[in-house]
C-alpha cells in the first residue's frame, strides 16, 4: 500500500476519468477470457467424463476443440489472463489514493491464486492427449485448476465489488464480511453463467466459423457441435437476467444513478437478443450467428463492467471531488505566486485588492460588521506579519460574541500580501486617507522582513 502510494502522483479529475476508462478496457479484455476459460474447461471436463463412461467420439472431439479454444496456448493466457490483472491494483491504487480503509490488499492477494489456477488448467490441457492412460490425473488437474481459479477469482471479484460499498470497508478485516455478501455472490453467479453461455457462443464461433467451415468436414459433428453449442448458450442465457436483477437489487443505494440502472437493463436486453440468435442457430440447419453471438457477448461484458466501474465512481464521488479540489488549490497557489510577482512588478497592490475583494465582506477598519472592527484586533499583530498570515490562512474562533471567521481560502501569497497591507494600514494614520503613499513597495517589504 505505502510502497504503492509512493509511486503514485495525486491524480486530477480528468485523470480519474481516464483511470475509470482504463478499468473498463481492462475488464473488457480480461473478464470474457476468464469466463471462457472457466466455461470451456468445465464443459470439456463433463464431455470427457461422459465419453469415458460411455464412449462417444463426438463428445471427445468437442472436448478437444473446447480445450483448444478456451485454454489456448500459454501466450493468450499471459496476455489476456494475467497481465490485465496486474494492472488493476495500479488503477485502483491511483483512484483511491489517500482514501481511509481502502482495501487494496484484497485486490492484490487473490492474484497469485488466479495465476496458479490458470497454470493448473494449462497442465490439464497438456494432459488431454494422454488422458486415456492417466484419466484420473487428468480430471484431478482439471477439477483442481477450476476450483483454485474460481475460488481466488471469487475473492478478487468480491474485493473489487466491495469498492462500491465504502460503508463496509472498515469491517473488511472480517473475511466473512468480505466474502459472504449477497451482492458479490449474485455478481459471481452472473459472471459464471455468462461464462457458460459465452462458451456456447464460442463453440458456434470458433469451431464452426473461425477455422472456416471446411475444417469441420463431417456434417454429423458440425450438427452436433451446433446443437450443443447453441443449446448450452441458450440454456445459460436464461439464467443471466435473474442474477443480473438480483445483483442490481443487492447493490448498495449509494452506487446508483439513472445511467447505472439503464446499464443494468441494457445487459438484460442484450442477452435477449443473444438468446434469439441462439434460437435461430438451433432452428436453421446452418451453423450461423456464431460471430454475432460472440461479439454481442463481449458487448455484454463491456456493459456490465461499465456498470461496476461507474458504481464504484458514484459510491466514492466525494473522494474524487476532494482529490480534485486538492489539485485545484495547488494550481491556484502556483498561479497566485506568479500573480503576486507580476503585481509587484506592475506596482499594483495585491494586498489591497484582496482586502477589498474578500475581507470587506465582513470587516471594516473602524466599525463592526459580521466580524470585529479590524482596528481593534490588528493591534495584537503589530510587526507580526507571519502571525496574521497564519491566522488568515486558517482562522480560529477567538471572540465569543462573533461567529467564527470562515476560511477565506486565500493562497498563502495573497494572505501574506493582505497581512502586510493591513499592518501597513495600522502603521499608517488611522484616517487611512492616503494609503498608497504608505504602502510599502516590495523591496521595502523585503527589507522589513529582514529587519525583524
Amino acid at each position: 500500500m505505502d510502497f504503492l502510494s509512493q509511486h503514485i502522483i495525486p491524480p486530477t479529475a480528468t485523470h480519474l476519468q481516464l483511470l475509470e476508462f482504463l478499468a473498463v478496457v481492462t475488464y473488457t479484455i480480461h473478464l470474457p477470457y476468464i469466463a471462457l476459460v472457466i466455461g470451456s474447461a468445465a464443459v470439456a471436463m463433463w464431455l470427457t467424463f461422459s465419453d469415458h463412461e460411455m464412449p462417444n467420439p463426438l463428445f471427445a472431439r468437442l472436448a478437444g476443440d473446447l480445450i483448444g479454444i478456451g485454454l489456448g496456448s500459454g501466450l493468450p493466457m499471459l496476455v489476456l489472463g494475467v497481465l490485465p490483472m496486474m494492472v488493476l491494483p495500479f488503477i485502483y491504487g491511483q483512484w483511491f489514493v489517500g482514501a481511509p480503509h481502502f482495501p487494496l490488499k484484497y485486490i492484490v492477494l487473490p492474484i497469485p491464486g488466479v495465476i496458479l489456477g490458470l497454470a493448473l488448467l494449462g497442465l490439464y490441457r497438456r494432459s488431454f492427449r494422454g488422458r486415456a492412460a492417466r484419466f484420473h490425473l487428468h480430471m484431478a488437474l482439471g477439477t483442481g485448476g477450476l476450483l483454485v481459479l474460481m475460488g481466488s477469482y471469487f475473492a478478487l471479484m468480491s474485493a473489487i465489488i466491495r469498492l462500491q460499498d465504502p460503508e463496509k470497508w472498515f469491517r473488511l478485516k472480517n473475511v466473512v464480511i468480505l466474502l459472504l455478501n449477497w451482492n458479490v455472490i449474485w455478481k459471481f453467479l452472473l459472471f459464471v453463467h455468462l461464462g457458460f453461455a459465452l462458451t456456447g457462443a464460442a463453440i458456434l464461433f470458433f469451431v464452426l466459423r473461425w477455422r472456416g467451415r471446411e475444417s469441420v468436414t463431417d456434417a454429423e459433428y458440425a450438427a452436433f457441435a451446433r446443437r450443443f453449442g447453441a443449446g448450452l448458450g441458450l440454456a445459460f442465457c436464461f439464467a443471466v437476467p435473474v442474477f443480473n436483477l438480483f445483483y442490481v437489487f443487492t447493490s448498495p443505494d449509494v452506487v446508483f444513478d439513472s445511467t447505472v440502472y439503464l446499464l443494468g437493463a441494457a445487459v438484460t436486453v442484450l442477452t435477449m437478443i443473444i438468446a434469439y440468435a441462439f434460437v435461430a442457430a438451433l432452428r436453421s440447419g446452418q451453423p450461423r450467428f456464431g460471430a454475432t453471438t460472440f461479439s454481442l457477448f463481449i458487448l455484454v461484458f463491456v456493459l456490465s463492467s461499465t456498470f461496476d466501474v461507474r458504481s464504484m465512481a458514484n459510491a466514492n464521488r466525494e473522494h474524487a471531488r476532494l482529490i480534485e479540489t486538492k489539485a485545484e488549490s495547488e494550481r491556484l497557489e502556483r498561479e497566485a505566486e506568479i500573480e503576486a510577482a507580476m503585481a509587484a512588478s506592475a506596482g499594483r497592490n495585491l494586498g489591497e485588492e484582496t482586502f477589498n475583494g474578500v475581507c470587506m465582506q465582513c470587516h471594516r477598519m473602524n466599525d463592526r460588521l459580521v466580524g470585529p472592527p479590524l482596528a481593534t484586533v490588528l493591534t495584537k499583530y503589530a510587526n507580526n506579519v507571519d502571525g496574521l498570515q497564519n491566522f488568515v490562512l486558517n482562522p480560529v474562533k477567538i471572540n465569543p460574541e462573533y461567529p467564527p471567521m470562515p476560511n477565506p481560502g486565500l493562497s498563502s501569497a495573497r494572505a501574506k500580501a493582505v497581512a502586510e497591507y493591513l499592518l501597513g494600514q495600522m502603521a499608517a494614520p488611522a484616517d487611512g486617507a492616503q494609503p498608497e503613499a504608505q504602502t510599502p513597495t516590495p523591496t521595502e517589504v523585503q527589507s522589513g522582513q529582514k529587519s525583524h
Partner: protein, 446 residues
C-alpha cells in the same frame, strides 16, 4: 398433457414375463387419459384451493391474524392443529416405504408409491401452516438461520426452530426418496407414451436403461435413502411433539408426548392411506396389483397403533391424577367435562372405540368397512390435536386469564383449502405417475 399409448409389445411366451407384462399393463392403463369428470374434479379442487386458501390467506395478511379466532390465552388455533395433523398424515409414507422396505415386508409394494406421494403432498400442506400461522408472515425468512451483519441468529433452543429443520429435512428426504423410486418406472412409462410427454418422461428417467451398473448403484442408493428415512419416522414427529412437551403449559408438559405422537402419526397415516387407496383401487381397476390381504395387513397396523394411542389417553390422565398437581389435573378434568368435552369424547370414540372391531377378520377384509373406519380415524386424529392444543391453552395457571377459543370463518376456509390442495395433487399424481411401483411388483413375480 395427454398420453398416446403405444401398442404394448407382444408378450413373450414365458408365464412369468407374461405376468410382469400384465402388471405393467394394469398400471399403465391406470394412467389412461383422464375423463372429463376427472378433470372437473381436479379443477374444482384447484378452485377451492385458490379461493379458500390463497384468498383467505391474502385477506388475513392484509387485515391481520386477528381475523382468526386466536386470542388471549389461546394463542394457537386450528392452524397448528392442521399442521400437526398433516405432519402426522405424512408419516405412513416413510413408514411404509422406508421401514417396511428395510424389513423386506412384501405388502409394502402395493402401497408404497401412493403412500410416498401422499407423504410429499401432506408435508407440503403441513409446511404451509407455520407460515399461515405467523402474525407477520412476510418475515418468515427470519426463521431460517442465514448469515447477516445484524448479528441476528435464530434461537436453536426454540422447538419451533427445530420444526423448521425437521419439516424441511423430511420434505427433502421424502421427495428424493419418492423420485428415486420413480426413476425405473419412468423409463417403463416412457416406452408406452409418445410425443411431448415421452420427452418429459425420458428426461425424468435420467437416461435409465436398466444396465447392470445402473441397477447396482440404484439398489445401493435406495437402501441408503431408506436407511436415512427410517429414523425420520421417529424423529420428525417427536420434534413436532416437543413443540408442546417443551412448553410448561399444563397438558403439554409431559414426557410421553414423543412416542404418543409418533404412534398417533402412524395411526392417522395408515388411515389416510386406506382412505386414498381404496377408492383408487376401485376407480383405476388395480385389484390385481393391490390384493385384499395387503389391505388387511395395513388394517392390523392401524389397530395396533390405535391401541397404543388409546393407552396414551389413559396414561396421561392417570399421570395427571398421580401428580396431584392442580393445574395438570385441572386441565384433564376440564377436557372431559369442560367447554370442549364433545371434542374430547369424539376423539376417544373415533380413535379408541371405532377401530376395535378390526379384531374380526371379516371386517378387516371388508374394504367398505375399512374405508369408513379410516374416515372416522382421520376425524378422530384431527380432534385429538384440537383437544391437546386448545383445551390446554384455554385453562392455564392464572384463573383470571382463562378463555375459550372458537375457530373463525377464515381459519375454517383455509383448512378446507389445504384439503382441496391435497386431493388436487393426489388426483394429478394418480393420473400422471405410475401409482404402483411397477418394477418392485415385477420382482414379486418369480
Amino acid at each position: 398433457m395427454t398420453h398416446k399409448t403405444a401398442p404394448v409389445p407382444a408378450a413373450a411366451g414365458h408365464p412369468a414375463s407374461e405376468a410382469r407384462l400384465q402388471i405393467e399393463r394394469d398400471v399403465i392403463s391406470a394412467m389412461q387419459k383422464p375423463g372429463l369428470a376427472y378433470w372437473a374434479l381436479v379443477g374444482f379442487c384447484a378452485m377451492v384451493f385458490v379461493v379458500c386458501l390463497l384468498g383467505a390467506w391474502a385477506w388475513q395478511i392484509y387485515k391481520g391474524i386477528g381475523v382468526g379466532g386466536q386470542q388471549n390465552p389461546v394463542g394457537w388455533g386450528i392452524y397448528i392443529v392442521n399442521f400437526v395433523f398433516w405432519v402426522g398424515i405424512a408419516h405412513s409414507g416413510t413408514l411404509i416405504s422406508a421401514v417396511l422396505f428395510l424389513f423386506r415386508s412384501k405388502f409394502r409394494a402395493s402401497f408404497n408409491r401412493a403412500a410416498e406421494a401422499m407423504t410429499v403432498i401432506a408435508v407440503m400442506c403441513a409446511g404451509m401452516y407455520p407460515l399461515i400461522h405467523l402474525g407477520r408472515a412476510w418475515y418468515f425468512f427470519w426463521l431460517l438461520p442465514y448469515p447477516n451483519q445484524r448479528l441476528l441468529w435464530t434461537n436453536f433452543k426454540s422447538p419451533l426452530e427445530w420444526d423448521v429443520f425437521a419439516v424441511s429435512t423430511y420434505l427433502t428426504i421424502s421427495v428424493v426418496f419418492f423420485y428415486v423410486g420413480l426413476i425405473p418406472d419412468f423409463a417403463i412409462v416412457k416406452r408406452y407414451t409418445k410425443g411431448f410427454s415421452r420427452h418429459v418422461y425420458s428426461a425424468l428417467s435420467l437416461g435409465w436403461v436398466g444396465s447392470k451398473r445402473q441397477w447396482r448403484n440404484y439398489n445401493m442408493l435406495y437402501a441408503l435413502l431408506a436407511g436415512f428415512a427410517a429414523p425420520l419416522v421417529l424423529s420428525v414427529h417427536s420434534v413436532v411433539s416437543w413443540d408442546f412437551a417443551m412448553g410448561l403449559v399444563p397438558g403439554w408438559h409431559t414426557t410421553i408426548f414423543a412416542p404418543y405422537f409418533v404412534a398417533g402419526a402412524i395411526f392417522s397415516g395408515c388411515a389416510m392411506v386406506l382412505t386414498l387407496c381404496i377408492p383408487m383401487r376401485k376407480i383405476q381397476k388395480l385389484e390385481r396389483v393391490m390384493p385384499i390381504d395387503h389391505f388387511e395387513k395395513l388394517a392390523k397396523t392401524m389397530l395396533f397403533t390405535s391401541m397404543i394411542v388409546g393407552y396414551a389417553y389413559i396414561v396421561e390422565f392417570l399421570l395427571a391424577y398421580y401428580s396431584g398437581n392442580v393445574y395438570e389435573f385441572g386441565i384433564f378434568a376440564d377436557r372431559a367435562t369442560g367447554h370442549y368435552k364433545y371434542q374430547y369424547w369424539g376423539m376417544v370414540f373415533c380413535n379408541m372405540i371405532v377401530p376395535l372391531p378390526l379384531f374380526i377378520k371379516r371386517l378387516r377384509r371388508s374394504l367398505a368397512y375399512l374405508f369408513i373406519t379410516s374416515i372416522f380415524v382421520n376425524i378422530g386424529m384431527w380432534l385429538e390435536r384440537f383437544v391437546i392444543i386448545i383445551t390446554s391453552l384455554s385453562k392455564e395457571f392464572v384463573p383470571y386469564a382463562w378463555g375459550t377459543y372458537r375457530p373463525q370463518p377464515v381459519e375454517i376456509s383455509i383448512t378446507i383449502g389445504t384439503f382441496a390442495f391435497f386431493f388436487m395433487m393426489f388426483l394429478l399424481f394418480a393420473k400422471f405417475l405410475p401409482v404402483v411401483a411397477i418394477t418392485e411388483k415385477k420382482e414379486e413375480v418369480h
